[in-house]
Symmetry: C2
Subunit: 301 residues, 2 copies
């Protein structure tokens, strides 16, 4: 299972039962939280997202609609008895805010909490199951997008060829990892002669808040799902640019150029009560577009 | 109109669709916000509370369940075009947190925002319509309760007596304010001979988070409504004391001793899915008790 569940799809402030940005990426038995607007913990209860499975939180930037819910979530995790480690990645300044909030409350976080400051592009986390890396986006303050991918999938055993080469079943796991097999007589069976390449690692790309920026195409290239903000409809492209945000068709253009399988758009301006026109506009440029609707899980496939 | 609308009645963390503490007191055309837990602005939308009418916010103490929603609310007020002044009263430390959050966002509040630090008991605000004063409660960190009362109600014109004394109608407003009337011949008509005393000023007393403390009786005396926390049922009185909280029957005891007209209990522990037993227990001591249910407006009368 590799999927993303939308908890908040609105920009700036809550409106029309849309909430500030938050998404949970589930990858095998792990959950990753991306951004954490106000009331994210309430949205987690509403949509049955298990807080205990979250071990990594990534905050794209320190505008309030992307992190005001963090302090409530991490203190609640403590009250709920969490003992396992939690790592939080963000641009500079978040730890100082949390520390000050804990200090005035005379309290502390009762589980190991690690803050990691993002200062540039690169790999943030690598586990046996997934990798998370980041890249800068062009916004009013330091802001980063995230790429979450499965870690290297195993090579596939070619049944006919392994049987023909007489490689024992007990060595199959080693073959999947890419090792060659040496027979009792010293002959080397090269891995690629008995296995097929693994499927490409699936990836989810989250471009956070950003102005229309063609440089994002490289980061989004071949993503199974690209999330791109579409704060405004296309007729507001000038306002979007002034505020370092993007429009529906701009998001769709990035998706099209990057050849992604599917585009999700979100971060809708509170000025729009209905967001149906957003998806209609985006689909004129990139047909495989959907609204990042709250409570919906999109499979990364 | 003098009433209190409950926006959040839970303690510590959101649970069972109960939210952290927040209440709006409406007094004539003004609204006063008391405490501002996470998602208060969302609760305001849900229950049609107009943010624009709020000019005063009182934060009892800096545990997160009483103020984590403040930064979202005050930044949203700016985004919604607010230009009028807002005053926030709290124990020390809140301004520093808000300032740090604004700094990392590279933003500012676009309307006049005044922080006032509470350091002891006393009068906080007096307007022609209402007065707000505070008193310390016994909690783990500095914490204050609030008394909100109508400002001095006008004296009542006694129609028969003013007519008999031949006081002109144009002087009635002065009579209501307590002034004597001097006739053209120099005779003084004493105010109290032609008016009746005003009704007592109605008052709402909010005792915030507190251990069971008999000293609160003096502050709650003769309140039209007393809000007292009842985090736990009575069988948890030891735990309540350890955590500087109160139980159902303790809240009711304060209400009874203070001779209040009505008691509201709230700040329920998240361990309780149902809070029906809370009100049943409290009523065994003080019959005129109700649950501070979210979305309900209780008239202060």
């Amino acid at each position: 299972m590799f999927g993303v569940t939308i908890l908040g799809n609105n920009s700036a402030l809550p409106a029309y039962d849309r909430h500030p940005t938050a998404q949970v990426v589930s990858i095998q038995d792990q959950s990753i939280l991306i951004d954490c607007g106000e009331a994210t913990q309430i949205q987690m209860s509403r949509y049955k997202v298990k807080r205990s499975k979250i071990n990594h939180i990534f905050i794209s930037h320190l505008h309030g609609d992307h992190y005001f819910g963090l302090i409530g979530l991490i203190t609640s995790m403590g009250l709920l008895g969490r003992t396992s480690e939690l790592s939080i990645f963000s641009p500079p300044g978040l730890k100082e805010i949390v520390d000050m909030q804990l200090a005035v409350a005379g309290s502390s976080i009762p589980y190991p909490l690690h803050f990691h400051t993002i200062t540039g592009a690169g790999l943030l986390v690598e586990t046996p199951k997934f990798k998370v890396s980041c890249f800068p986006t062009q916004h009013r303050i330091p802001c980063y997008g995230f790429t979450i991918s499965e870690n290297k999938a195993p090579r596939k055993i070619n049944k006919e060829k392994v049987i023909a080469a007489d490689v024992p079943f007990s060595f199959y796991d080693e073959l999947k990892k890419g090792f060659d097999y040496e027979t009792k007589t010293g002959e080397v069976i090269k891995n690629e002669t008995v296995t097929d390449p693994a499927s490409p690692n699936k990836k989810y790309v989250y471009t956070a808040d950003t102005i229309f920026d063609i440089n994002l195409v490289a980061h989004a290239m071949d993503a199974n799902i690209l999330y791109h903000e579409a704060t405004y409809l296309q007729d507001q492209s000038q306002k979007a640019a002034e505020r370092f945000h993007a429009t529906t068709t701009q998001a769709a253009t990035i998706a099209k150029e990057a050849g992604v399988k599917r585009l999700l758009i979100g971060h809708f301006s509170s000025k729009y009560e209905s967001i149906e026109t957003h998806v209609q506009e985006a689909r004129t440029v990139f047909a495989s577009t959907d609204l990042a609707l709250e409570g919906v899980t999109f499979l990364v496939q």
